[in-house]
């Protein structure tokens, strides 16, 4: 089922891995490159070739856990597996892992002990998955809630409950070593229940009453029900029920009991399958509160290590406390708001904050360090990573390479109306001319009146500015097919030995399908070296829509097997926005492509390259 499971440090060293088959390609490396480095950890799964890759992080120990399986399989238990494995691994090798923080060459045989443990975890989860699949058939009437309300059903219920309880006890007592997977599942169910039973949803008079009554009477646990003695208990069961001796077994029992709340338990089908009780169940609401408290207590115990108040006091003083999600939530929402104020598209800010908190949860704070400062620091690295280009920005080097191959280098400028395509095309042209390159401008905006004349004026100006420059305008008037003109221009450039062809296209709204089709045609017919999206820095949320739809159109309408995508971005009107530079972030995050230039003014020389650290500082400035 599973193809590959691996545990490695953020430094890149594999600590433990388990291959069930030989992997094709490098899905794990792809994951690191395309998800973890790009700050897209807010997502849940990643597809690479024939595989789906899921992962989880253990930040306090710098670990990454990755599971790889075939894309066509629907393995619902993988997330559970990752979480269970993470817990088991970090517990088993706590000391060794501390060492790993300072050493690279960790002998792999130190983690061999995990083989058996992992196998048992997988087996357990697979079994559970299997049984839940097998039981996906419609329930019998006798199992439904409706049946319980019938006369017959209410009679039979008492006996049922008793038998259910017995099987429960048996479950928790045997195999205490192996039940971490079960305990994990139950804890998850409890969590899910708590989430669904939020205060907002718990309207209604009856449930409210029930809730307050239950919590006032029994703050921790709902009252226990009577145990039915039918006189036929096996020796094992009898032993399990004997609480008089406080042995290890009893301890395990108590620990397991704390994790769950009997009253909030769902129903259990005949063959021991556990179903989470749905929120609508009568009487469930009161116990939500109790289970909530219970699990909270449990969390505290786990983090404090049971050292008592003094210990945790000193921990707080020395600041050696791991950051929890609840610590982060307020800081993160403030950070998100801050980013949105800087004109970052809302859902990108959201995504980014999620990703950053994924990377922080579990980290230990140093002395005198606040969560806020840590978040800011992490956000700074995240922003730098996103804005740092993945590919070379050296367009000139590409042009020289093309010249060596005796072909013109083609750049197509695309974008919505009025963002400054023609203006920035002419600025780019000026820069190329200064580097003694010959340029042909193809006027493929055959729609807007005056577009060709605008370019003609630019060409004339540029020729006047640079005496030695070789610049020409290739135009065929209005109303013609843009793709055809571009093609003619490229062959003209080739025949006349131009170095660069700059193709100006008509501005178009991303929703206008006929126009997007014609753009896609232009791209697929000419296969340009660079497709440059021109966007203005003033856009906020719209940036996301524009870029996704342009990319989507290039993909959908191309008819090619390997459709082209936007290769780079020119961000215009950058001088008008002060420090609200969010558009730069939104655009690079959406496309993963670099910002080649920013337009910063009205003259030909106002084309600059973007300074990443400058933008990051502007984004974080208060």
């Amino acid at each position: 089922m599973l193809d590959h499971f691996t545990v490695f440090t953020k430094g890149g060293v594999v600590l433990w891995s388990c291959a069930f088959s030989t992997l094709r390609g490098q899905p794990v490396d792809d994951l690191v490159r395309e998800v973890l480095v790009e700050e897209r950890t807010g997502e849940r799964a990643f597809e690479s070739g024939p595989y789906t890759v899921k992962w989880t992080l253990a930040n306090e120990l710098n670990l990454v856990f990755v599971a790889v399986y075939q894309k066509i399989l629907q393995l619902a238990y993988v997330e559970d597996l990752l979480r269970t494995a993470r817990r088991a691994f970090t517990e088993m090798f706590a000391e060794t892992l501390q060492e790993c923080l300072t050493v690279v060459a960790v002998p792999k045989d130190r983690f061999v002990a995990f083989d058996a443990k992992f196998a048992s975890i997988v087996r357990k989860l697979e079994e559970r998955e299997y049984t839940s699949r097998a039981n996906r058939a419609p329930r019998r009437f006798e199992d439904t809630k409706k049946y319980q309300n019938t006369l017959e059903g209410s009679r039979g219920r008492k006996g049922d409950e008793a038998s259910m309880k017995r099987s429960n006890t048996r479950d928790t007592t045997d195999a205490s070593a192996e039940d971490s997977a079960d305990a994990d599942g139950i804890r998850r169910n409890v969590e899910a229940l708590r989430l669904r039973g939020g205060p907002g949803k718990r309207g209604g008079k009856s449930s409210k009453n029930g809730g307050s009554a239950a919590s006032s009477k029994a703050p921790k646990k709902a009252p226990r029900k009577k145990r039915v003695w039918d006189g036929s208990a096996t020796a094992e069961e009898a032993k399990a029920l004997d609480f008089s001796q406080g042995g290890d077994g009893a301890d395990a029992d108590v620990a397991a009991e704390q994790l769950i709340d009997r009253a909030a338990l769902g129903s259990q089908t005949r063959d021991g399958l556990y179903n989470v009780r749905s929120l609508g169940d009568a009487g469930a609401s009161g116990s939500d509160q109790a289970s909530d408290e219970d699990s909270d207590d449990d969390d505290d115990d786990a983090s404090a290590g049971g050292g008592g108040g003094m210990y945790s006091f000193f921990q707080r003083i020395t600041g050696q406390k791991a950051i929890t999600e609840s610590d982060l939530a307020p800081v993160m929402s403030a950070m998100k708001e801050h980013l949105v104020k800087k004109n970052v598209a809302a859902h990108i800010a959201d995504h980014l904050c999620k990703s950053v908190s994924e990377g922080i949860v579990g980290m230990k704070l140093g002395t005198f360090k606040s969560v806020k400062a840590e978040v800011k620091r992490q956000m700074e690295t995240a922003l730098t990573r996103i804005l740092t280009p993945r590919t070379s920005l050296d367009v000139l080097r590409d042009i020289f390479a093309a010249r060596d191959e005796h072909r013109p280098y083609t750049m197509v400028f695309v974008g919505v109306n009025g963002v400054g395509k023609s203006t920035n095309l002419s600025k780019t042209c000026f820069w190329l001319l200064q580097n003694r390159l010959s340029v042909l401008i193809a006027a493929c905006d055959t729609f807007r009146s005056g577009a060709v004349e605008q370019l003609r004026v630019h060409a004339r100006n540029l020729r006047a500015l640079e005496q030695t420059a070789r610049i020409e305008l290739y135009e065929r008037g209005y109303g013609k097919d843009a793709a055809g003109i571009a093609k003619d221009a490229v062959s003209y450039a080739k025949a006349n030995k131009f170095d660069v062809v700059l193709v100006d296209t008509a501005g178009r709204m991303q929703d206008n399908e006929p126009l997007m089709r014609s753009l896609s045609k232009l791209v697929s017919v000419n296969n340009p070296d660079k497709i440059i999206f021109v966007g203005e820095a003033l856009v906020g949320n719209e940036a996301v829509d524009q870029l996704t739809k342009f990319n989507q159109a290039l993909k959908d309408f191309s008819g090619l097997q390997r459709p082209r995508q936007i290769d780079g971005i020119i961000l215009t009107k950058f001088d008008t926005i002060d420090d609200k530079v969010g558009a730069a972030l939104s655009m690079t995050f959406i496309t993963g492509q670099p910002i080649l230039f920013v337009g910063t003014g009205q003259t030909y020389t106002d084309l600059k390259s973007m300074n990443v650290s400058h933008v990051v500082q502007a984004l974080l400035r208060d």
Binding site: G12, V13, N62, A105, P389, L396, W431, F597, S609
Partner: protein
């Protein structure tokens, strides 16, 4: 501040001694306060002063830096994935373990490379790891990275020695170190032209002497590593362990590191 603090402490301390007899306890407290301030000042100066005592392992991703580091540290073979964070370990450079140095493996992913510039202040030497078998294909990316390192202001100013470690030399398709050096020289010669012709940075007015503006080598001449103030050497190496000479495969890198750590270059 750091130069004046000790002097000020002395004068205060001597004044304090006279006052002990007069004022007793308050004066004693005053002395304690002054001494602790002095200690804090010294401590702060220590913290702010950076000691350049590390050797960096840099290079494009997939060139085998993390692997090489494990080999250098414990002569162990580790399986690796693309690094997300830097690895930093102490490496013993001679058999007795007297000569040790910190070696930092900087992630080579394009988006994480900017971290290199955070480490150059602590660098005493830089090992530029390259995949000798793939250099023909990757020459542009590799040369650009090397160019970025060479133009880093601290690398140039402090004349940090650089070793071109042509890794994976065990592969049949690997280029010889001399050839790698020549290829890099040719490519950097081209990059030098395009980079200096690139559009100005957005904030270029404020930082006139920024790193990117530095011109490598001599104008009007083809670029050679010899033109640089830095000492640039090249060696072939491999982290593979299958023969008995395995130790020798990284031996040349280790030797170079030992020279750098001992200050012999």
């Amino acid at each position: 501040m750091s130069t004046t603090a000790p002097a000020a402490t002395h004068s205060h301390a001597s004044a304090g001694k006279n006052e002990v007899a007069l004022f007793g306890l308050p004066a004693l407290l005053l002395i304690v306060a002054i001494v602790s301030i002095a200690i804090a000042a010294v401590y702060l100066r220590r913290a702010s002063g950076v000691k350049a005592d590390s050797i960096l392992l840099v290079g494009a991703r997939g060139s085998g830096k993390t692997n090489m580091l494990a080999r250098l540290e414990h002569d162990a073979w580790v399986e690796t994935h693309t690094s997300l964070k830097d690895n930093s370990v102490m490496v013993a450079l001679d058999d007795e373990g007297k000569l040790c140095t910190r070696v930092i493996d900087v992630p080579g992913h394009e988006k994480l490379r900017y971290q290199t510039h955070h480490f150059t202040p602590v660098a005493r030497g830089i090992v530029f790891v390259l995949d000798a078998a793939r250099l023909g294909k990757d020459i542009r990316q590799v040369a650009e990275y090397l160019y970025d390192i060479l133009t880093d202001s601290r690398v140039a100013q402090r004349e940090i020695p650089i070793l071109l470690a042509c890794h994976k030399a065990d592969l049949a398709t690997a280029y010889a170190p001399k050839r790698c050096r020549e290829m890099l020289e040719t490519e950097i010669d081209r990059i030098r032209v395009t980079r200096t012709a690139a559009v100005d940075s957005q904030t270029a007015e404020q930082e006139q002497h920024s790193a990117a503006e530095r011109y490598l080598g001599y104008e009007g001449e083809t670029f050679r590593f010899d033109h640089l103030p830095n000492d640039v050497q090249e060696v072939a190496c491999s982290s593979l362990q299958e023969t008995s000479e395995a130790n020798d495969r990284l031996g040349s890198v280790k030797e170079w590191m030992a020279d750098v750590a001992a200050g012999r270059t």
